[in-house]
Amino acid sequence: MSPRRAAAAAAGVRGAAGVRDEAVQVHERAARGRTVQREQGVQREQAVQEQAVQERAAPDGGGGRAAHRRDLLRRMLLVRRFEERCVELYSAGEVRGFVHLCIGEEAVPVGVLEALTSDDAVVSTYREHGHALARGIPAESVMAEMLGRVTGCSRGRGGSMHLFDASRRFYGGHAIVAGGLPVAAGLALADRMRGDERVTCCFFGDGAMAEGEFHETANLAALWGLPLVLACENNLYAMGTPLAREHAVTDLALRAASYGMAAWPVDGMDVLAVEKAARRAAGAVRAGGGPHFLELRTYRFRAHSMYDPDRYRERSEIERWKARDPLRVLGDRMRAEDGFGDEDLDALERDVAAELDRAVERARAAGEEPVEDLLRFVTGPPREGP
């Protein structure tokens, strides 16, 4: 008998049937509890939703629809142009290491994080420039990180993949696929234990759903009803492997739903759809409805990384997706519904360009962390025990 089985046997003194009966009861109780919790959550969430929808539908003016959309567009533009600068700086040898771009996916970070408050926590991936910027980490701080400068949010140590800003509750930047998921579960558990009405949002890609850490986290989160938004960025490729060649079941929301959590697919190229879905999910989570899963269907226009020759997909496929460029999708809608014009776009472009000029200039002017400091922060100062 294995030690685990032996331990289980040692724990149970009643007959197997008694244990089974109790197990059934426990299961039913838990399911009832979760259902009640979820229903309450859904009711509260609907109220929050309706309020949000009313606000957004308000006629143009302070806090109105057009201004909100313009703000979303500006932020997506900032992410797009920031990454284009990174490409230039990488080609010039100023940015070193790996660089993974989210160009084409901007609606996801901007739309999802629009639905969170600054008290909510964010855990991200290695394709996280967009998440960091949408979270509100200044472009200057992220750019300094890209350039390895001491003024970067991780002092220049983290680089592209390990942006970290605890003060903004941005808990990384994780280079290990699915590595951030269990950490996010812990952040969410802490909030629940403290009684905080906070949400933790964890981003990960479709590739992460083949990893064990996703499944451990999904099970823990659903079992314990954790306040967690699982934001799956399904860009159809795990690096170079297409979805159908990495997953036996490619309906990712369906798989997440098997853990007993609400899960649905979202058009990840439409920032308004993303925002709406994220508000709905975050609202329900905040109201005690347990974890929610969003499958954000998106596409990256650039290769996996700067090293990737991108041989695994047809040019025509990329072009088809570019027709649904999230900047264009929102821009077209604003033109049609909000009287948005070329001059408005030009003004946004100029504004973003000026911000990025400033970010690059200041980052370049900053120093690097002294080499001898690399041994600092490996561990903390000693704390005397008993």
Binding site: P3, R4, A6, A7, A8, A10, A11, S154, R155, R157, G158, H162, F164, A166, S167, Y171, G172, G173, H174, A175, I176, G179, L181, P182, V183, A184, A185, G186, L187, A188, L189, A190, D191, M193, R194, T200, G212, E213, E216, T217, N219, L220, L223, R376, F377, V378, T379, G380, P381, P382, R383, E384, G385, P386
Partner: protein, 326 residues
């Protein structure tokens, strides 16, 4: 003063720390209602409740990752890994996240996570349940790795580990779980600091360096050697990372001979690091090369050959003979 087994001492240490700080949590597989396979958490669930002594699913990576998230939010989780071999599924979280996050966050976050692991062999528990994997963890910057050899150290070191703001891998030699010693759990303070080595027995002719389960083997070997007129010193390292190398150096400078003893395979083990460092620091004092006694470079064997496989008194004394004859 009363008599404590190592299990009871560890249990008492957890109890004291749960009482001392409401942010301290215990979590792991069957640590709650069952009280753990080895009963180290016995009774804690009843007294502190299911929110502080948390039964988890069988998901080692999920458990350690969750503990990291809790620590980022100010909690002080003590994770139990049920058996040494079960830690491997959590290796990613320990090495990629737990060990590195403090540096990644420039010290803006603390990671007071203690990972308790019953480790090493000697109880007939076969492969995956008898692993000595300390070198993996000691090799990783950002982790502290400690291992007590007796109930008194187990008690104080666990309390100190829980209070430590850095991640601590706390290795419990399970073959010593039922050893007894006199302990006053209410004494004012610990006899020594968490990362100090201890001279467990004084001697003149050679130094035996050991930790965890092998300290008792070395003390027995030293007692046997005394009957042959040889005086052996035994250093109990207690902490493998950081290493208290001053205590080791002082001993070897006096005796001129050193034998490192551990259960883990000799190849690439702690003994290699110790031998290299002793050679660098004590070169002119050495009368013989530093010798190593340890496990074979093979998976852990079936229990019927365990006694042959594990380093024992004879293998230690044979190495001492070779050192003295050099």
């Amino acid at each position: 003063m009363s008599s404590f087994t190592m299990v009871k001492a560890l249990n008492e240490a957890l109890r004291k720390e749960l009482e001392a700080d409401p942010k301290t949590l215990v979590m792991g597989e069957d640590v709650g209602r069952l009280g753990g396979v080895f009963r180290v958490t016995d009774g804690l669930h009843k007294d502190f409740g299911e929110d502080r002594v948390i039964d988890t699913p069988l998901a080692e990576s999920g458990i350690v990752g969750t503990a990291i998230g809790l620590a980022l939010r100010g909690y002080r989780p003590v994770v139990e890994i049920q058996f040494d071999g079960f830690v491997y599924p959590a290796f990613d979280q320990i090495v990629s996240q737990l060990a590195k996050m403090h540096a990644r966050a420039l010290g803006h976050v603390k990671l007071p996570v203690t990972v308790r692991i019953p480790y090493a062999g000697g109880i007939g528990a076969v492969e995956h349940h008898s692993e000595s994997h300390e070198a993996y963890f000691a090799h990783t910057a950002g982790l502290k790795v400690v291992t007590p050899s007796n109930p008194v150290d187990a008690y104080w070191m666990l309390r100190q580990a829980v209070r430590c703001d850095d991640p601590v891998i706390f290795l419990e030699p399970k073959r010593r779980y039922w050893d007894k010693a006199e302990l006053d759990p209410n004494a004012a303070g610990a006899p020594s600091r968490l990362h100090d080595a201890r001279v467990a027995r004084e001697g003149r002719d050679a130094t035996l360096i050991a930790y965890g389960p092998m300290v008792k083997v070395c003390l027995d070997a030293a007692a046997a050697a005394e009957e042959d007129g040889r005086s052996l010193e035994v250093v109990d390292l207690r902490s493998l990372s950081p290493l208290d190398f001053d205590t080791v150096t002082a001993s070897v400078q006096r005796t001129g001979r050193a034998v490192v003893v551990h259960e883990a395979p000799v190849f690439m083990g702690m003994g290699a690091e110790l031998a290299a460092r002793i050679t660098e620091r004590c070169f002119y004092a050495l009368e013989a090369p530093v010798l190593r006694v340890g496990g074979y470079f093979a998976p852990y064997p079936p229990s019927r050959v365990e006694e042959t496989f594990l380093p024992d008194l004879d293998r230690v004394l044979d190495a001492v003979d070779r050192s003295l004859a050099f």
